[in-house]
């Protein structure tokens, strides 16, 4: 028998009912859907003790409730004889006997919540449930005692069960929404395999010291910053750098905490203590972000808080109205239905679920958001202002061209590199960096003299040489050949030896390759783009032309940028400012949304609402789309929950809604809001993958 023809769970032949399914990335065969579920139960890892406790309550409660329902059903269907007979009275006592522990078990948490709220002078949703359930239970118990009339234990139990299930759904929804963040949130609590004297022990990452040896298994998340000392693999650092590709790691290669190991086993020597890595820093930041209430979330909570006392009044009014027109039983049930159906549970769920999901999705690409508020504000942004240097350009000049005259390019670069190695000037450093690979044997020039604002002179291999501006070389009596003109935005440095200028090197600050695409994507989203730079006019103008940005300002000091931002805000509405967090701190703080690019240094800075990793400018349009999607999801869910509640409330007041159905509607609305919010993620993730060609990191 082929292995694939047996059920992976129960080992029976899969037969004709069989189905192929994937669990944890493994293709498996199952004989039926039930076995597929059972297999997941056995091979998954989920331990949350609080959730288990709630589940035990639900399960034991359901056991009692099913008995109550069954006996009520048998009684009312006449299967146990006359509804008013002796058997019926016995069954009533049995129901009371079963319902009492259930009310204690499931009603307890609601009553405790109501009590807590009452001590703070508030009326919460727990209060609504408690009042409703306890009055129906009390009324039924009195009927049993009196030995006459109908009892409503089935209603009581169903309402309690459904509400507890609703609570559980909410809890699961929250856990689920934060699932992609789980490894990040657990960064500080992670355990690592520390190798010491040939034995391997699990230790909390906090206890890892520089020099500790840590083993990383294939597919694991690396928990320490360090250097590979053994093994070969490849790592995905998307969560830190935003780059989705796998980076090869061989002995000697640095690895970052938070990256995911690929197919090989690695042994890593830690270079930093486990508690101070950027990864742990990110973890704290994300945790803070999750507990920050967004504006929308806050508003909803306040509305709900005002709504609850109104519902209570409405329920009392309904009871009073119906009590004067119908039997008291019916009035009581109608009032109960009003209390139950108006619980604004699902409303408070929409905002936290969607923003948690959004924060998690962004974090997958290394984008850090400072709370759901940042997402809400991003969705409103109508214009984006960019800083130039280091944001749209690489921020450091690079060798882009070399000319030679009566010499080879190699000779030119050789001498230039030798001279540059003797200087700390930024241009010299750029030339030295450019020559590092091409003329690795270039010596350090001797007798190097700096001529401030003009150039350098010295001896290379004993021969005098000079490098600097055209004026500097002409001043030394060297002739500059015609035809070497600085291109747009480049700086030319001339090199001469043996009495004449023999070469020139062109240097430029390169525009990031993705900048053009990002600008086009922003314009495509109907977002205005502005350049605000402290740089020279010509440089900014050229960049603006190249990126087809119609509006730009140059030569701005930070306070000028703030003024410009305010002007833009008046013209277009909310403006996001993208800059580096070091120099543009006050400007980022002044914008509606401050987006800091790069630098681990500004993680902890409060000025930015969003921190993009260094090479992640291309994710900016995606981020705007994400914020728009999150906002749409919140608003749609709020509208849905409000409409649903309003209609159900109207029906309940009119007495057209059974309390059990009302409770079912409420649990259903929680379920709908949770699954809608979680599905919104799927839709977004798919669309986003098309958008920027980001394959997405493996979620380990």
């Amino acid at each position: 028998m082929k292995p694939s023809s047996t059920c992976s769970h129960c080992l029976l032949p899969t037969g004709r009912l069989g189905q192929q399914r994937e669990v944890n990335g493994e293709a498996l065969a199952f004989c039926c859907y039930g076995c597929y579920l059972a297999y997941q139960v056995r091979h998954g890892e989920r331990d949350e003790p609080e959730a288990a406790l709630l589940l035990i309550r639900i399960g034991v409660g359901a056991f009692l409730a099913m008995n109550i329902m069954l006996f009520s059903l048998l009684l009312y269907s006449g299967a146990l004889g006359d509804v008013d007979g002796v058997t019926a009275r016995l069954v009533h006592w049995l129901l009371l006997f079963l319902a009492t522990p259930l009310v204690l078990l499931l009603g307890g948490p609601f009553v405790a919540g109501a009590w807590r709220a009452a001590r703070q002078g508030r009326v919460g949703t727990d209060t609504l449930v408690s009042i409703g359930v306890l009055s129906a239970y009390g009324f039924s118990a009195m009927q049993v005692w009196a030995g006459s009339g109908a009892v409503y234990f089935d209603t009581v139990t169903m309402v309690l069960i459904l509400f507890t299930v609703g609570r559980y759904l909410e809890a699961v929804g929250r856990v689920r929404a934060a699932r992609s963040l789980a490894p990040m949130l657990a960064a500080e609590r992670a355990e690592v395999r520390v190798v010491h004297d040939g034995t391997e022990t699990l230790q909390p990452v906090r206890e890892v010291q520089p020099g500790s040896i840590v083993r990383v298994l294939p597919g694991e998340r690396i928990a320490v910053d360090g250097v590979v000392i053994e093994g070969r693999s490849e790592c995905n650092e998307a969560i830190l750098t935003g780059r989705a590709d796998m980076l090869a790691k061989a002995p000697g290669a640095p690895v970052l905490a938070g990256s995911i190991n690929g197919t090989g086993q690695l042994v890593v020597r830690a270079t930093a203590a486990g508690g101070v890595t950027r990864w742990v820093q990110i973890s704290r930041l994300v945790r803070d972000a999750l507990v920050r209430k967004s504006f929308l979330g806050n508003t909803v909570d306040r509305v709900a808080a005002a709504f609850v006392p109104l519902v209570l009044l409405l329920a009392v009014g309904t009871l009073w109205y119906w009590a004067s027109r119908a039997p008291f039983d019916q009035a009581l049930l109608t009032g109960l239905a009003v209390l139950v159906v108006a619980c604004p549970c699902s409303m408070g769920l929409a905002a936290p679920l969607a923003t948690t999901l959004g924060i998690g999705l962004a974090a997958q690409r290394g984008i850090l958001l400072r709370g759901g508020g940042a997402l809400e504000k991003l969705a409103r942004v109508r214009a984006v202002a960019f800083d130039k240097t280091g944001t749209l350009t690489e921020g450091r000049p690079q060798v882009v061209d070399i000319w030679a005259h009566e010499a080879t390019e190699h000779e030119v670069l050789y001498r230039a590199t030798a001279l540059a190695k003797g200087s700390e000037h930024p241009l010299a450093k750029a030339i030295a960096a450019g020559g590092r690979d091409r003329v690795p044997n270039a010596p350090v020039a001797t007798e190097v003299r700096a001529h401030p604002g003009a150039g350098l002179s010295g001896r290379v291999d004993g021969e005098p040489a000079a490098m600097g501006s055209a004026k500097f070389l002409r001043g030394r009596g060297e002739r500059i050949p015609a035809g070497w003109a600085a291109g747009n935005g480049t700086t030319l440095v001339y090199i001469g030896w043996g009495g004449r200028a023999r070469g020139a090197i062109a240097l430029a600050d390169r525009v990031l390759p993705e900048a053009g695409k990002v600008m086009a994507a922003l314009r495509g989203r109907d977002v205005q783009v502005v350049l605000l730079s402290g740089d020279r006019e010509t440089a900014v103008a050229r960049l603006a032309t190249k990126l087809a940005v119609p509006e730009w300002r140059s030569g701005l000091a930070p306070e000028d940028k703030v003024r410009e931002l305010r002007a833009w805000e008046r013209r277009y509405g909310p403006v996001a400012m993208v800059g580096d967090g070091l120099n543009d701190g006050p400007v980022l703080a002044a914008a509606t949304v401050g987006i800091a690019v790069g630098g681990a240094t500004d993680l902890a800075r409060e000025s930015a609402d969003v921190v993009l990793p260094e090479s992640a400018l291309e994710h900016l349009p995606w981020l705007l789309q994400l914020s728009a999607d999150v906002n749409r999801s919140i608003r749609a869910n709020l509208a849905w929950a409000l409409g649903y509640n309003a209609i159900a409330l109207a029906l309940a007041v009119c007495g057209w809604l059974q309390p059990v159905i009302a409770a079912g509607l409420m649990a259903g609305s929680s379920l709908v809001v949770v699954s809608r919010s979680l599905n919104a993620r799927r839709g977004h993730a798919l669309r986003a993958a098309d958008h920027v060609g980001f394959a997405g990191p493996a979620s380990a």
Binding site: H9, R16, C32, L37, Q40, A52, I56, M66, L73, T199
Partner: protein, 254 residues
């Protein structure tokens, strides 16, 4: 009464299917640290929870079936509807029973998505929690796991004519599965190695422990499943006969 007896036998034979699917849970639940009595309580609670769920579902479906077509006390107008329901539920049983016998391919079960995921998550959490309460809760939820065997008898319960016969049908089935599942728990406890000290030296990645290896060999269980299929086909035929045969020859009175 004969019918309920048949159902119990079907449950007994079918419980060889249960062992494969849910037996693993029973084994994992294992031993209670407070002694044999506590362990027994835990396993009884699990099975009580499971059978209660079946019984409840049977009662509800029996009631719904009755609401749909009226009960036995109603005049002949309702009788056609009752007979139709008997034929429909009997056919469903035949369909599922023949699948168990491996005679034809079933429609693929559709994924329940979020709902199924919730059920899986809930069972996972309960499996790890200690105490009889958790076992009871596990049993209750286990009773709602989609299982063709349960569906077959729920079809019969729906056509049984009322909440009481519906509940009794499912109770009979549940009691039939009781011995095997309880025994399975016993075997699981017996063979389970004592747990080692937690957080000790890590040798390699945790191997995938599978309690299924303790169950009877698949070949036996396959026979059991076939026998259960045959019982379901027989019961389905009786149910259909109740709808088709003239009133006097109604095998319900058997």
């Amino acid at each position: 009464m004969f019918e309920y007896f048949l159902i119990s036998l079907a449950g007994l034979a079918g419980s060889l299917h249960c062992i494969g699917m849910c037996g693993g849970f029973v084994c994992v639940m294992g031993k209670d640290s407070r002694g044999a009595a506590a362990t027994l309580r835990r396993h009884l609670a699990y099975n009580l929870g499971r059978v209660t769920s079946y019984c409840f579902l049977g009662g509800v479906l029996g009631h719904l079936g009755m609401l749909l077509v009226g009960d036995h006390a109603q005049p002949a107008a309702a009788s056609l509807a009752q007979r139709s329901l008997a034929v429909v539920s009997g056919s469903m049983m035949l369909y599922i029973g023949l699948q168990f016998l491996g005679l034809f391919r079933a429609a693929r079960w559709q994924t329940l998505g979020f709902g199924a995921d919730l059920l899986v998550g809930a069972l996972q959490r309960l499996l790890k929690a200690p105490g009889a309460g958790a076992a009871l809760a596990l049993g209750v939820l286990n009773g709602f796991l989609p299982c063709p065997l349960v569906y077959a008898f729920l079809a019969q319960a729906a056509g049984s004519g009322g909440p009481l016969p519906g509940a009794l049908t499912m109770t009979a089935f549940g009691l039939g599965t009781f011995p095997a599942m309880l025994a399975m728990g016993g075997i699981g406890v017996w063979l389970r190695p004592a747990p080692g000290p937690p957080g000790a030296t890590v040798v390699s990645m945790t191997p995938r422990g599978n309690a299924i290896t303790l169950a009877p060999p698949p070949a036996w269980r396959l026979h059991g499943v076939r026998i259960a299929g045959a019982f379901i086909v027989l019961l389905g035929a009786i149910t259909i006969a109740r709808g088709v045969l003239p009133m006097g020859a109604h095998p319900h009175g058997l």
